[in-house]
């Protein structure tokens, strides 16, 4: 019901704007624009007006959401490059962010796609998960290049127990 209302509202709103656009196309030169009116906004609303299909909009929105993680990849790459490979508080914080965001996003997967409730969001979800995984992979790569991943034997050295001695020896220089 709520979505229906929303849709009806949207229809109303888009109707208004389309009318408006028609008006403006006629009298654009004659009349000055009202205060706080921006032409660019009208233009975009005009575009939207062309796609009156509600589901199309929802699809678009959902794809926007789904593609957001992948769009972050170049940005993340840039951050990674900027952070450098030295281990200090800021690079660590950045790496932490790189990790946290996709993981959080994955946990809130259903929450993010709730707003665009539709039967066929599986594709978007897969793309979304894929994007986040790519981001996690990037973060892992960053950790690897910073040497934070315990992939070498030296990383486990602290856990190597001292060996138990099998023999005991005693004695010394003779006293006599």
């Amino acid at each position: 019901m709520a979505t229906n209302k929303l849709q009806s509202k949207r229809f109303k709103w888009s109707l208004d704007s389309s009318k408006c656009s028609k008006l403006s196309s006629i009298n654009e030169s004659a009349l000055p624009a009202p205060p706080a009116y921006s032409t660019s906004g009208v233009l975009s609303s005009g575009e939207v007006a062309k796609k009156t299909d509600a589901s199309h909009l929802i699809m678009k929105k959902s794809w926007e959401v789904a593609l957001a993680p992948i769009k972050q990849v170049p940005m993340n790459l840039f951050i990674m490059y900027m952070a450098g490979n030295s281990i200090s508080i800021f690079p660590i914080m950045m790496v932490g962010m790189l990790f946290m965001r996709p993981i959080q996003a994955l946990f809130q997967l259903n929450g993010t796609f709730k707003t665009v409730e539709n039967s066929s969001v599986i594709g978007q979800k897969i793309v979304y998960i894929f994007g986040n995984l790519v981001n996690i992979g990037l973060a892992l790569y960053k950790c690897q290049s910073m040497g934070l991943l315990p992939t070498h034997s030296s990383d486990w050295l602290a856990f190597v127990e001292p060996r138990v001695r099998q023999e005991y020896i005693g004695g010394g220089i003779m006293f006599s």
Partner: protein, 234 residues
């Protein structure tokens, strides 16, 4: 015992020095052998004068607390009232003389006495054993300074605190947050900002649009088909 053959590999650096100064060493070694043979012959004395630290820092009774060690205490000299000292009974050879005082440090000196009783004093250089920087003999030993045994406790200063990069990094953004909104309150700057915003604004086709359009095309046809089916049923 087979391992006995394994000689100790000296460090590269040292080896280089070896190569360079082999000739010098040969001279020295022959000298040594002579001096051992004539062990009983010549006994010499090293003399000199130790100066205390300058007036306000001169420790009381410094003469009694100053000692001279030749070759790590093999021969010992004591300082007289006027600071002069004599280390007795030294056969010819090469010696390192150090002044020991608990509060002041002095430079070590190498004193060489040849078999004829000729003295030469030079700066100690353990690495380049042939580099001779002569110092006057009889020795005049002046303190290098008070020996610093202790670390100085760091004191808390406001400048240290303020110029700490962390503090700078924390306060600068804070300042920006506090001041920028004030600046934006000014209508002119606001307008300028907007203009800049409108200038930089340009249209970018959104990927999601493409994807939606691409997918929508198929789905719409599907919808149409479904509708058609529904109609048929009706």
């Amino acid at each position: 015992m087979v391992m006995h053959k394994m000689t100790f590999a000296m460090n590269k650096h040292l080896l280089i020095f070896n190569l360079i100064f082999v000739t010098y060493l040969k001279v020295v070694s022959s000298e040594n052998s002579i001096e051992e043979d004539n062990d009983t012959q010549g006994r010499y004395l090293i003399e000199g004068k130790v100066f205390p630290a300058d007036h306000p820092f001169t420790p009381p009774n410094w003469q009694a607390s100053t000692q001279l060690h030749v070759n790590g205490g093999e021969y010992i000299g004591f300082v007289k009232e006027d600071g002069s000292f004599i280390v007795h009974n030294i056969p010819s050879g090469s010696y390192i003389l150090e002044v020991l005082h608990p509060e002041f440090s002095y430079e070590q000196v190498r004193v060489e006495i040849n078999s004829k009783g000729k003295f030469r004093a030079r700066k100690v250089n353990h690495i380049q054993t042939s580099a001779v920087v002569q110092v006057p003999y009889p020795l005049k030993l002046k303190p290098l300074g008070k020996t610093r045994y202790f670390q100085i406790r760091e004191q808390w200063r406001i400048t240290d605190f303020l110029f700490n990069p962390m503090i700078l990094m924390m306060f600068l953004p804070l300042l920006l947050i506090m001041i920028l909104p004030k600046m934006l309150n000014d209508p002119e700057t606001k307008r300028e900002m907007e203009q800049i915003g409108s200038l930089t604004k340009f249209e970018m086709p959104e990927v999601s649009d493409y994807v939606t359009n691409f997918l929508a095309g198929t789905s719409q046809t599907q919808h149409a088909k479904k509708n058609a089916k529904n109609k048929k049923r009706q």
